[in-house]
Symmetry: C2
Subunit: 323 residues, 2 copies
């Protein structure tokens, strides 16, 4: 029995389905969820995607966002089948799933704990979008241009536009087939890559004006104090592009941004390239994340905070801790 047939048989009784994505929704979970919702809609079902807040501005161009409903965290209605997309465990889905609701768990995280009644987990897939594509293709479901666009966004965002180490020959083959199926590359490009706010460029300008690189070139950091950010209305500006730029520099292992989001309150972003576990460092300051990308927020004087974080990072770079 194909995964698609199995999904259909689980959903057959209720004719309804709740699709859930993880908190801090990204392109992969949103694109995957929407493509799946489109396919269920085509079957005459009433799929709904619940999310606790407005989805990020950058993903509002995705086709089908009218199927996304804002719903406060809490319990879900009883007995309606739930499809969790791109969620490693039950905690990631924001809502409490009633015990009598069947759960279909579709994911690609290595940390997935098989929390579903039915689990479709492929840790070799670069994105959940790859798995959804295969389920639909193997199930003989027609993939419309809108669905192709959603799945393309899912895959391209989770692979850093096909530049990360998670991509495989299969990833590129699927991307090729999605373009063939009518994925709207112009819409995607315009919205994902060509609408970066001017505030981001101004933040890069402000950050590079005073960036520091250690003598051995392994540690790069920059400091954005409240006055600088406030003057140009850059407090809310995204710094993902900036820290990516810093981290990409030859020889750099750790990149840090110190951003004073209010006076005396500093958001620290940490990225590493190969061996330093920045999650450990962020946790020392009450934050966390992944081994190569983490963050924390520290109260105090920005310069003292910078000194303290640098003191914590340096032994990992030179002393072989965690190397």
């Amino acid at each position: 029995m194909s995964d698609w047939t199995k999904i259909c048989s689980i959903l057959a009784e209720s004719k309804e389905a709740i699709i859930l994505v993880h908190e801090k929704a990204d392109g992969d979970c949103l694109g995957s969820a929407l493509a799946l919702a489109f396919s269920l809609h085509e079957l005459g079902m009433k799929p709904v995607i619940y999310y606790p807040e407005e989805i990020p501005l950058v993903y509002r161009f995705l086709p089908g966002t009218e199927m996304l409903k804002i719903k406060a965290p809490g319990s879900l209605p009883e007995s309606i089948p739930v499809i969790a997309v791109d969620c490693a465990d039950k905690k990631r889905v924001v809502y409490d799933i009633p015990t009598n609701s069947p759960i279909i768990n579709i994911d690609h995280h290595v940390s997935n704990d098989y929390f579903g009644t039915y689990n479709i987990v492929d840790t070799d897939a670069a994105a959940a979008g790859e798995i959804i594509y295969r389920i639909l293709k193997d199930g003989g479901v027609r993939i419309s241009p809108d669905m192709a666009t959603c799945l393309y966004v899912a895959i391209s965002t989770d692979t850093g536009s096909f530049s990360y180490s998670n991509i495989t020959s299969e990833t590129m083959k699927i991307a090729s087939e999605l373009l063939e199926l009518g994925s709207d590359m112009n819409l995607i490009r315009e919205n994902l890559y060509e609408k970066r706010p001017l505030s981001e460029l101004l933040t890069i300008k402000a950050a590079l004006a005073n960036f520091c690189i250690s003598e051995d070139g392994k540690l790069i950091n920059c400091l954005l104090d409240f006055d600088t950010l406030n003057k140009d209305e850059l407090i809310g500006a995204d710094t993902d592009g900036l820290i990516g730029l810093l981290r990409a520099t030859d020889g750099v292992e750790v990149a840090l941004i110190f951003k004073e989001i209010e006076i005396g309150n500093v958001k620290v972003s940490l990225r590493s390239k190969s061996y330093v576990d920045v999650n450990i460092i962020a946790r020392e300051f009450g934050g966390g994340g992944h081994s190569r990308a983490a963050g924390c927020t520290i109260k105090g004087n920005i310069h003292e905070i910078k000194d303290n974080v640098l003191k914590m990072v340096t032994p990992y770079l030179t002393g072989g801790i965690n190397k």
Copy 2:
């Protein structure tokens, strides 16, 4: 007759071949030239790639760079077949090609003037690497992992890691096949995306320190004069990342960089997003390229050059020429 058979028949007599790339060699011309050189080498020929200087640091990881020879500009030896890769016209090849040397012209630029004795020009190809791949595949040539790596670099660099509008279903299919053939994605990622020279970051810093954006937000430009570049040894620094960053800004249609590579000699890079054909503008100043990415080199005062180019660009943004 396949293109490959034709190429082989042209080269058959001399058993030698000179492969030429364009000045300011990029990933596409170098990767394409190296893959081609590997394939000719396999046939027992002695291909050589001439280039007037050391190739950019970022591409020295490419397999086969020992086939690249530094040779001062001037005349090439008589009667040896020349294969020009990714060159729109004879001027781009740096060297003087003797009139008795057959020329094979392999390119994807719309401005290509068919200067070859035999021309393989496909302006729909996202990269010259795509054309080389097709020639080799159609010719039944075995593509080794090293060749696959070279061609993958060619395609991924000319498509901004598969994010530009020039990509097609075919581009992604070729990328998929190259990964299948052993293209070394880890080597590529580490070298292309994680070893950006510090000079690039310093160039972005210098450029953003004085960037200008027009009142309507459609035109963004920055000026790097010789003194600024020379002081920090940034003359040779790559500006592709910088211009990509400028162009990605929301609302920007045209991004320009004015780079004074020697006193009184200014390299202008032009990029557009949706509708301005910058190739036409570059050609007005003796340069060329593609409709969304072009360049020219102009002698004179950098500020006057900037004024002249801006004067030329503005009507395309506001007046609907070419819209």
